[in-house]
């Protein structure tokens, strides 16, 4: 008899106790969207394209993000401006396919593509989840403030001649016998 009470009634009493004790616990529910959660800076959310410290587009259209993307949701085309800088003619991310894995950010050699803590990307129309460069490109540097690819790489662009990149000596005068 005692065993029967222990197996059935006690268990039910315990359950009732647990349920009703929650009436006095602070609620876990967050009043989203009125109340915004704290997102960690390295959260992998909405993808952006950033600019370098000089305000120029960082993306050089190298295609590494597109090739590393496991769902193949990035497509772009390289073009070149009159300054000799490479940049994407178009840059498209199909967010309806994106899995926010962050591989593109890891692959990016110029810190152009970055994932941000923004996750509010729901749309009523799926077509609106296709983002073009105009939608992706921000005016700041994002998470990485100082990197400027063209200051490091030995490719000449307007305003940065041969020998002016990081660790570069002035161009060789091949006709000189003195060096």
């Amino acid at each position: 008899m005692f065993d029967l009470i222990k197996d059935t009634l006690l268990s039910q009493v315990r359950t009732l106790w647990l349920v009703f004790s929650h009436a006095f616990v602070k609620a876990d529910t967050v009043q989203y969207p009125e109340e915004q959660p704290y997102m960690f800076p390295r959260w992998r959310g909405r993808i952006i394209l950033t600019r370098d410290p000089d305000g120029e587009e960082r993306c050089v259209a190298c295609n590494l993000c597109a090739v590393v993307c496991p769902v193949d949701c990035i497509a772009l085309q390289k073009t070149e401006d009159e300054d000799g800088r490479w940049y994407p003619e178009f840059f498209r991310i199909n967010f309806s396919r994106c899995i926010m894995c962050g591989f593109c950010e890891e692959a990016c050699p110029t810190n152009a593509i970055q994932l941000t803590p923004d996750f509010e990307m729901a749309e009523y129309v799926r077509q609106d989840m296709v983002w073009e460069k105009e939608d992706l490109l921000i005016s700041g540097t994002g998470k990485y403030h100082n990197y400027n690819f063209y200051k490091v790489a030995g490719k000449t662009i307007k305003g940065k001649d041969k020998g002016e990149a990081l660790n570069e000596a002035a161009p060789v005068d091949i006709r000189s016998l003195l060096t």
Binding site: A61, V67, C73, I74, L76, R126, K162
Partner: protein
């Protein structure tokens, strides 16, 4: 065969080769830079170091460069030895000291031999903290970009450009770590083979300029095995497409034809596929207004054209299938050759000789083995450029035989060159104007065509008395040369005679055949190499398809007589095939002219029905090259607009796939019975899987078309081909000839080709090198007599010979952007004496009597007197309207935009 031991495993190798080559042949990974399969070893980069042991007891060993060590019997080496590995890692670290950290903006990235080798050698971080050496770049013309900072000084570029391709304007300059590879000053790279620098350079110093403008990484290109349509050589190519446009074209290895190299016309002349002049809609033109032709109307139109003896005019630039289908539509009797009458006659002769058992038409790789060559009146560099590159190798056979006598291995490149100095195998160039091969020629005779023919007959007569003698008056001055050339040919192991159609003189072909026949008689060899060049990609195929008497002249006559009311012209601009007046007269009375073509031409402008056809990269088709070798070319990308392969238009609504079509052509057309052998055997394919046209890492699949509709469409299905428009399938199947592009794990660059060869420089593993269609007859022909005497030249007028240009003479490639930048306006080449007599200065505009278009006068110091070489431009002058002799008058017209600035000939009197 020798036995060598590599890392404890024993291999059977060829002792005539070096260790690096043999390691690669065995499929082992050993990094290298300066060695190239076609250019031998110089031991410059020190990257292929391996440990060599004296014997099995030697545990220490010494480091040797694999490329400089013969693979002799009993050699014991180790690639994996720790010391060898760390040596290689150190070498690459020092090579990378000044590398500019610009892979993301480098066109070579992703298919870079330097990237591959760096990965393979295990170098990751730059430890050197001093400054990087930098260099200024040069402008190298419309084809090639220069970025000297990326150079690792392997010397491959100058070894290729100067030593292999005979260029003179690229050199290694400065010294030590300042060494610079470029021209003396900015300017266009002069060699016709400069484009190969893109593939020869192991990194991104020389990159494809046009490709850079529409850049796509190698892994993003959709590609398929294709055949170049720039000339009759039929080089194998890999075109690459992205986002619907053709982006670039690279070499595809074929051991018998192009090997590792293409000419610049082939490499850069594909852009017409993307041209805005492409026809996109089937239209009917009624009273000058074009209306789109509906599908229902189309079949009705076809019936109209197939009944009632309509005339069909084929095309040397259309595939066998399209020509065959047109022949089926109009009937064999009404199917006419779409080339000039003289050309048709010459082509018939060439096909006869191709079947002659005394002759052998050599492939490009066989031409490289010739040790005495006579070129009769063919400007090879401008009509079949890849062949000129092969001839430049053939003259090196002297050096190789000297090396053999001195027991120097043929791959010891520097030693062989040092030994031979300027000694070359004989190459005799007979031409009516100075050619680009004259620098390596042992004898150069520049004379009027009549004299050249006479010399040709003279050589044959010298070799054998049975050959008819030449006109003694014309050859008198050349008796010594004739004797010398005859001796050279007799002394050679593998003599070669070259002639062709471009000079427009069948007599020269006869003379060449006589020489070859006389050689066969005296030389005692089974067959003599006789290479007869034809002008276009499928000239041979068309000529085999068409009845001998069905010349274009007869077709046009029939049309102008009003005997027929309907005609179909297949991928052909008649205004480039016959005199404009004659074509006008023929088309004027014709109410129903159907033209199938891919670009707008003068002929499509006269048509009542125009059907758009596909370009070479948009259809699967077969072409027959100058040897009679048929090759299969695959579709690379989707069709442009409503374009279809011509045979599909002509087939109407009947369901037919391309394999059925090839098989039909094979079984029904005379002489084409082996065509079916080209088709891949489905049983070879693993589990019936197709070969993907896209790489395993083709990117953007779910984003490319997402802007149009987020629900991405299914990949287009190719129900006919063994290749798929997809990344799914098995890329490297048993039949490597059908792989979309060469790639192997750890080998992303074109150097991966060694993984697909039976051995380095050998055949592709089970690859398809094409099928020889022409069967030899049982009995050979007889000697041919010299034909009519040379042209009578009236006082004051000059004998006309046609000049050709690699950039401009080919109709399709001339519509490519980068090629256009290298084209010149029509010009005449005249001798200084004639120029003085006519009062013409270099660069003046002059008029030719009877020709409306004025031309630029170009005084060439080596032009024979009394002869004028006329370059007709890209259809500017109709060569068939030219008289045999012309007189020159002055012209008031200003010099055109292009002028002759881009003209590269060896004998310009003065700079322009």
């Amino acid at each position: 065969m020798a036995k060598i031991v590599i890392d404890g495993v024993s291999y059977e190798v060829d002792p005539a080769n070096n260790l690096l080559q043999e390691c690669l042949s065995q499929g082992l990974d050993l990094p290298y830079f300066c060695w190239h399969p076609c250019m031998g070893s110089v031991g410059a980069c020190r990257q292929c170091a391996v440990k060599q042991y004296r014997d099995a007891d030697d545990k220490d060993g010494i480091l040797v460069m694999a490329c400089m060590t013969p693979a002799s019997d009993g050699t014991i080496i180790s690639i994996e030895d720790t010391q060898a590995k760390s040596f290689r890692a150190d070498v690459i670290e020092s090579l990378m000291i000044s590398h500019p950290h610009d892979c993301p903006v480098c066109e070579e990235g992703g298919e870079c031999h330097l990237q591959d080798m760096t990965q393979m050698s295990g170098h990751n971080y730059r430890r050197y903290d001093k400054k990087k050496v930098t260099h200024r770049n040069q402008y190298l013309g419309p084809f090639i970009n220069h970025e000297m900072n990326r150079c690792i000084a392997c010397y491959r570029c100058v070894r290729y450009y100067n030593d292999y391709a005979g260029g003179t304007d690229l050199s290694a300059q400065a010294s030590h770590h300042h060494v610079y590879f470029g021209r003396q000053a900015d300017g266009v790279l002069e060699s016709e083979f400069s484009g190969n620098l893109v593939e020869v350079c192991p990194t991104g110093v020389f990159t494809d300029k046009g490709f850079s403008e529409n850049y796509t990484r190698k892994w993003d290109l959709q590609s398929a095995p294709s055949v170049c349509v720039g000339c009759a050589v039929g080089c194998n190519t890999t075109p690459g497409e992205r986002y619907g446009s053709l982006r670039r074209l690279v070499n595809r290895y074929n051991s018998e034809i192009n090997g590792y190299f293409l000419c610049d016309r082939g490499r850069f002349g594909f852009d017409f596929v993307n041209s805005e002049q492409r026809l996109t809609e089937p239209v009917r033109i009624v009273n000058g207004e074009s209306q789109t032709l509906a599908a229902a109307e189309l079949s009705q139109t076809l019936t109209e054209f197939s009944s009632g003896g309509a005339i069909g005019i084929g095309s040397p630039r259309a595939s066998n299938e399209s020509n065959f289908m047109l022949r089926c539509l109009v009937g064999e009797k009404n199917f006419y050759a779409g080339c000039a009458d003289t050309e048709h006659e010459a082509l018939q002769t060439i096909i006869e000789f191709a079947a002659d058992p005394s002759f052998h038409c050599p492939s490009i790789s066989e031409i490289e083995q010739a040790d005495a060559v006579v070129i009769l009146g063919e400007d090879v560099t401008n009509t079949a450029p890849r062949l000129a590159l092969a001839l430049r190798q053939s003259v090196r056979n002297k050096a190789l035989s000297l090396a053999e006598d001195s027991h120097i291995a043929s791959w010891q490149d520097a030693a062989v060159r040092e030994l031979a100095q300027q000694q070359r195998s004989p190459l005799c160039v007979l031409s009516s104007y100075a050619t680009r091969l004259d620098d390596v020629a042992s004898d150069t005779i520049i004379e009027a065509p009549g004299v050249l023919t006479a010399i040709g007959f003279g050589i044959a007569n010298k070799l054998s008395d049975k050959a008819p003698a030449a006109d003694a008056r014309s050859v008198g001055a050349y008796a010594e040369v004739i004797e010398a050339v005859a001796e050279q040919l007799m002394a050679a192991k593998r003599p070669l005679i070259i002639a062709g159609t471009s000079a427009g003189k069948t007599d020269l072909i006869h003379a060449a055949a006589n020489i070859a026949r006389a050689l066969k008689e005296k030389h005692g060899s089974e067959k003599v190499d006789l290479c007869l060049l034809v002008p276009e990609v499928n000239s041979m195929g068309l000529t085999m398809m068409v009845n001998k008497e069905n010349t274009l002249g007869r077709a046009l006559k029939k049309l102008s007589s009003g005997a027929v009311s309907h005609a179909v012209v297949l991928e052909n601009d008649l205004y480039r095939r016959a005199d404009s007046g004659v074509v006008d007269a023929a088309l004027e009375r014709l109410e129903n002219l159907m033209v199938l073509d891919l670009l707008e031409t003068a002929t499509t402008a006269k048509a009542s029905v125009v059907l758009p056809t596909t370009a070479f990269s948009e259809h699967e088709a077969t072409y027959v090259n100058y040897e009679g070798r048929a090759q299969l070319s695959f579709q690379v990308h989707m069709n442009h607009g409503a374009a279809k392969p011509a045979w599909r238009w002509l087939n109407g609504e009947q369901e037919c796939d391309v394999e059925t079509m090839v098989n039909r052509c094979s079984s029904e057309a005379r002489g084409f019975d082996k065509l079916g052998q080209l088709l891949p055997d489905p049983a070879q394919f693993v589990a019936g899987m197709k070969i993907p046209r896209q790489s395993q890492r083709y990117s953007g699949r779910t984003a490319i078309k997402a802007n149009l509709d987020v629900h991405e469409p299914k990949q287009p299905v190719d129900s006919e081909s063994v290749m798929a428009f997809s990344m799914e399938g098995i890329p490297a199947q048993k039949d490597a000839a059908f792989m979309a592009s060469a790639w192997a794990p750890r080998w992303n660059s074109n150097q991966s080709i060694s993984k697909f060869q039976e051995e380095v420089n050998g055949k592709l593993k089970q690859g398809h090198i094409g099928t020889q269609l022409i069967e030899k007859l049982a009995n050979g022909g007889a000697y041919l007599p010299p034909a009519s005497p040379s042209t009578e030249v009236v006082d004051g007028s000059l004998e006309v010979v046609l000049a050709h240009q690699i950039f401009g003479s080919d109709e399709l490639s001339a519509r490519s952007d980068s090629i256009q930048q290298r084209m010149t306006d029509p010009y005449i080449g005249i001798s200084p004496t004639d120029a003085q007599a006519q009062g013409v200065q270099h660069g003046d505009m002059v008029s030719l009597d009877g020709i409306e278009v004025p031309v630029v006068a170009c005084i060439r110091s080596k032009m024979p007197e009394g002869v004028v070489a006329i370059y007709c431009g890209d259809g500017d002058i109709n060569p068939h309207s030219l008289p045999a002799t012309v007189s020159i008058g002055s012209s008031e017209s200003p010099v055109g935009e292009r002028g002759i600035r881009g003209l590269i000939v060896s004998d310009l009197l003065e700079d322009y």
